[in-house]
C-alpha cells in the first residue's frame, strides 16, 4: 500500500502563534513543472493590523532586555537554523534553487544571524558619543530602539533576504512585522518556526505572506509603525510608500543590496542626547 504524503500547511506567524489569515484567502504556489507545492496565506490588512498590535505589545519587553541577552537569543536562532538545514535546503530547491546554491544560502543566513548576535551588545558603543559642549554639561548621545518596524523582504532571496532584513532590526531591540517574498514564501514560514523555538518572545517577530502590491500602502500608512524597511523594487510602490510614511514621519529605507553591517542596525535606532549638568571644575577647564 502506498502512503499518502502529509503536506504541510504554511501559515502566518503573529504574536507567537501560527494562525491562518483572517481573510481566509490563499494562493497556490507551484513548483518547476507547475505541480502545486502549497497553499499559502494571502494576508490582509487586518492580519497586518493584528501583527502590529502584537509587535507593539512585545516592544517594551524586548527593547529593555540587555543587548547581551538579545545576542544570546539571536545566536539561538542561528543554532536552530543550523539544526534544520536540510529542511531549508529542500524547500529552497523546491522553490527552484540549485542544490549547491541552496546550501550556500542557508549557511550564509545562519552566519549572518551569528554576525548580528555579536553586534547586539556592541553597536551601542560604536554609535554613542560624548559630545563637546560649551556649557557645564556632560553631553552624550546613545542609540535607542525606534519601535515597531515593518519590513518588506526581498522578492528574490527567500531565506537569506528575510534574515538580512530582519536580524539587524531585532538585534537593535525593535519588534517587527515582515512580509515574506510572494513567489518564495516557504522558507519564511519555516523560519518563523525556527524563531518560535528560539526563546524569542511572542510578538517580537511576526511574519506574513501575501503580496506587497496589496499591503505596501498599509505598511506605510499605519500610525503605530515607526520605521519601514523595504527591499522591494517597484518604483510606484516605493513612491507611494514614501508619501504615506510622512503621515507619522516614519523612517523609510529602501535597499537594493542584501549585505550585512552595523549600519543596518543603526537605521532602526533613534539617537537620544542627554544634557547632564555638571559642576564647573575650574575656570577654562571643562569637567569632561
Amino acid at each position: 500500500m502506498t502512503r499518502l504524503e502529509v503536506l504541510k500547511t504554511y501559515k502566518i506567524y503573529i504574536g507567537g502563534q501560527f494562525p491562518r489569515t483572517e481573510s481566509g484567502r490563499y494562493y497556490t504556489l507551484t513548483g518547476k513543472d507547475s505541480t502545486p507545492l502549497a497553499n499559502v496565506c494571502l494576508s490582509s490588512r487586518k492580519d497586518f493590523r493584528n501583527a502590529v498590535v502584537a509587535a507593539r505589545a512585545a516592544f517594551a519587553g524586548w527593547s529593555s532586555r540587555p543587548g547581551f541577552n538579545r545576542g544570546q537569543i539571536l545566536y539561538r536562532i542561528a543554532e536552530m537554523l543550523e539544526g534544520r538545514k536540510e529542511q531549508f535546503v529542500a524547500e529552497l530547491i523546491l522553490q527552484g534553487a540549485a542544490p549547491k546554491a541552496a546550501l550556500e544560502e542557508v549557511m550564509t543566513a545562519t552566519d549572518r544571524l551569528v554576525y548580528y548576535a555579536g553586534w547586539c551588545d556592541k553597536y551601542q558603543a560604536l554609535f554613542s558619543s560624548v559630545n563637546p559642549v560649551a556649557s557645564s554639561h556632560f553631553n552624550f548621545s546613545v542609540p535607542e530602539a525606534t519601535g515597531v518596524v515593518a519590513i518588506i523582504a526581498p522578492e528574490s532571496n527567500s531565506l537569506l533576504g528575510l534574515v538580512t532584513a530582519l536580524a539587524p532590526v531585532i538585534a537593535g531591540g525593535n519588534t517587527c512585522v515582515a512580509l515574506a517574498s510572494t513567489s518564495m514564501p516557504l522558507c519564511a514560514v519555516t523560519f518563523a518556526e525556527v524563531v518560535h523555538a528560539s526563546d524569542v518572545p511572542a510578538g517580537v517577530v511576526n511574519i506574513l505572506t501575501g503580496t506587497s502590491k496589496e499591503l505596501h500602502s498599509h505598511f506605510a500608512s499605519h500610525m503605530d509603525v515607526n520605521a519601514l524597511i523595504c527591499y522591494g523594487t517597484d518604483k510606484t510602490e516605493i513612491t507611494r510608500m514614501k508619501e504615506l510614511a510622512s503621515l507619522n514621519v516614519k523612517r523609510i529605507f529602501v535597499h537594493t543590496k542584501e549585505d550585512q553591517g552595523p549600519y543596518h542596525i543603526l537605521q532602526a535606532q533613534e539617537i537620544k542626547t542627554t544634557w547632564h549638568p555638571i559642576e564647573q571644575i575650574g575656570p577654562g577647564k571643562a569637567g569632561y
Binding site: 490588512r45 493590523r49 502590529v52 498599509h218 500608512s221 499605519h222 500610525m223 503605530d224 503621515l247 507619522n248
Partner: protein, 302 residues
C-alpha cells in the same frame, strides 16, 4: 413606597452554564461593518463611565479626566461625550465642578469600595458624603462575605438602606462577580439587588480578575429581562473592568440588543465601566474616517 420583598430563590432560574457560553459565542460571530459600526462605536463611547479609582488619584488627574470625558477627541467632529465619570467620594466635588454644564454625570463609588468590609454606619456616611457633594450616581459594593455565607437578608437590607441614602441619585450595585464563584450566585445576587431597589446592576469593581466577562453579563441581562417581565420595572446594566477593545464593546451591544431589546440601547440603561476602552473606540472611529490604522501615541491618555 411599596413594600420591598426579598425574592424567593426557590423560584429562581437555574443557570445553564454551557448554554450561556454557547449563546455568548453566537453573539461574537455577528459582523458589524461600515456605517453601523460607526454608529455602534459612537453609542459605545456615549455609554462609557470614564473611571479613575486609584490610591494615587489627585484633583489634577480627575480634572484632566473630566476634560477628556466632555471632549473625547476634538480632532474628530460629531462625537458624543461619555456618559459619566466614576471617581472616589472625595473627588466628587472636583469632578462636579469640572463637568458643570457639560451634561456628563458624576458617579461615585461608595460603601468602602472596593472590599466593602466596613460597618453599615460607615457605608451610609460614605454614601451621604458623595451625594451631598453632588454625585448623580452611586456605585455601591455588596458585602460578598455575607452573601456567600447565605446571609441574603443582610445584603438585601444593606442595598435597601443605601438606596434610601442615595435620595434622587441612581444606585448601581456592584456584585464583584469574580468573587461569587458561580453563575447561579450571580443570578441570585442580581435578583436580590433588583428587588432591593437597585437602578443598575454592575459586575465588578475592576480591582480583581476576572472582572466583567460576557457570560456573567448575559446572566445578569437575563435576570433583568425576567425582572422586567415580572414587575414592569426597567433596570440598567453596567459591565465593568477588562473591556478594553472597541470590538468587545460592540459585542456587548449585540448581546444587550438581543437580550433586552432596543429600549436598553441608551446610556440611561447601559454603561461600560472602563478607562482604556474610550481610546480604543476613538482610534477605531478615526480609522473609519481616514482609512489609516491609528496609534495610541496620538490620543490623550486621560
Amino acid at each position: 413606597m411599596a413594600q420591598l420583598q426579598i425574592p424567593d430563590f426557590r423560584k429562581s432560574t437555574i443557570v445553564d452554564q454551557v448554554g450561556i457560553e454557547e449563546r455568548v459565542s453566537r453573539f461574537n460571530t455577528r459582523s458589524i461593518k461600515k456605517e453601523s459600526k460607526v454608529k455602534g462605536l459612537k453609542l459605545v463611547l456615549s455609554m462609557i463611565d470614564l473611571t479613575t479609582l486609584e490610591g494615587k488619584d489627585t484633583e489634577g488627574k480627575v480634572k484632566q479626566m473630566c476634560y477628556k470625558a466632555a471632549h473625547p477627541h476634538d480632532a474628530l467632529s460629531g462625537l458624543p461625550t461619555v456618559a459619566a465619570v466614576c471617581v472616589y467620594p472625595t473627588m466628587v466635588g472636583t469632578a462636579k465642578q469640572a463637568l458643570a454644564g457639560t451634561g456628563v454625570k458624576v458617579a461615585s463609588v461608595s460603601t468602602a469600595f472596593p472590599s466593602g468590609q466596613s460597618t453599615r454606619q460607615v457605608k451610609l456616611l460614605d454614601t451621604k458624603f458623595a451625594v451631598e457633594h453632588g454625585a448623580d450616581e452611586i456605585d455601591m459594593v455588596i458585602s460578598r462575605g455575607e452573601f456567600l455565607k447565605g446571609n441574603y437578608a443582610f445584603v438585601f437590607d444593606e442595598i435597601a438602606a443605601i438606596k434610601e441614602a442615595c435620595g434622587t441619585a441612581r444606585l448601581k450595585v456592584i456584585f464583584e462577580t469574580g468573587e461569587l464563584s458561580t453563575l447561579d450566585n450571580v443570578r441570585r445576587a442580581s435578583e436580590l439587588a433588583m428587588h432591593a431597589g437597585a437602578d443598575f446592576i454592575k459586575t465588578s469593581t475592576g480591582k480583581i480578575s476576572p472582572a466583567a466577562t460576557m457570560p456573567v453579563t448575559l446572566v445578569m441581562l437575563e435576570a433583568i429581562r425576567d425582572f422586567y417581565y415580572a414587575t414592569g420595572k426597567m433596570v440598567g446594566m453596567k459591565p465593568a473592568g477588562g473591556i478594553s477593545t472597541a470590538k468587545s464593546g460592540l459585542q456587548y451591544l449585540v448581546m444587550l440588543h438581543e437580550t433586552l431589546g432596543a429600549d436598553w440601547l441608551t446610556n440611561k440603561w447601559f454603561r461600560f465601566g472602563a478607562s482604556s476602552l474610550a481610546n480604543d473606540v476613538l482610534m477605531q472611529l478615526v480609522k473609519e474616517k481616514t482609512g489609516v490604522y491609528q496609534s495610541k501615541e496620538y490620543f490623550s491618555a486621560d
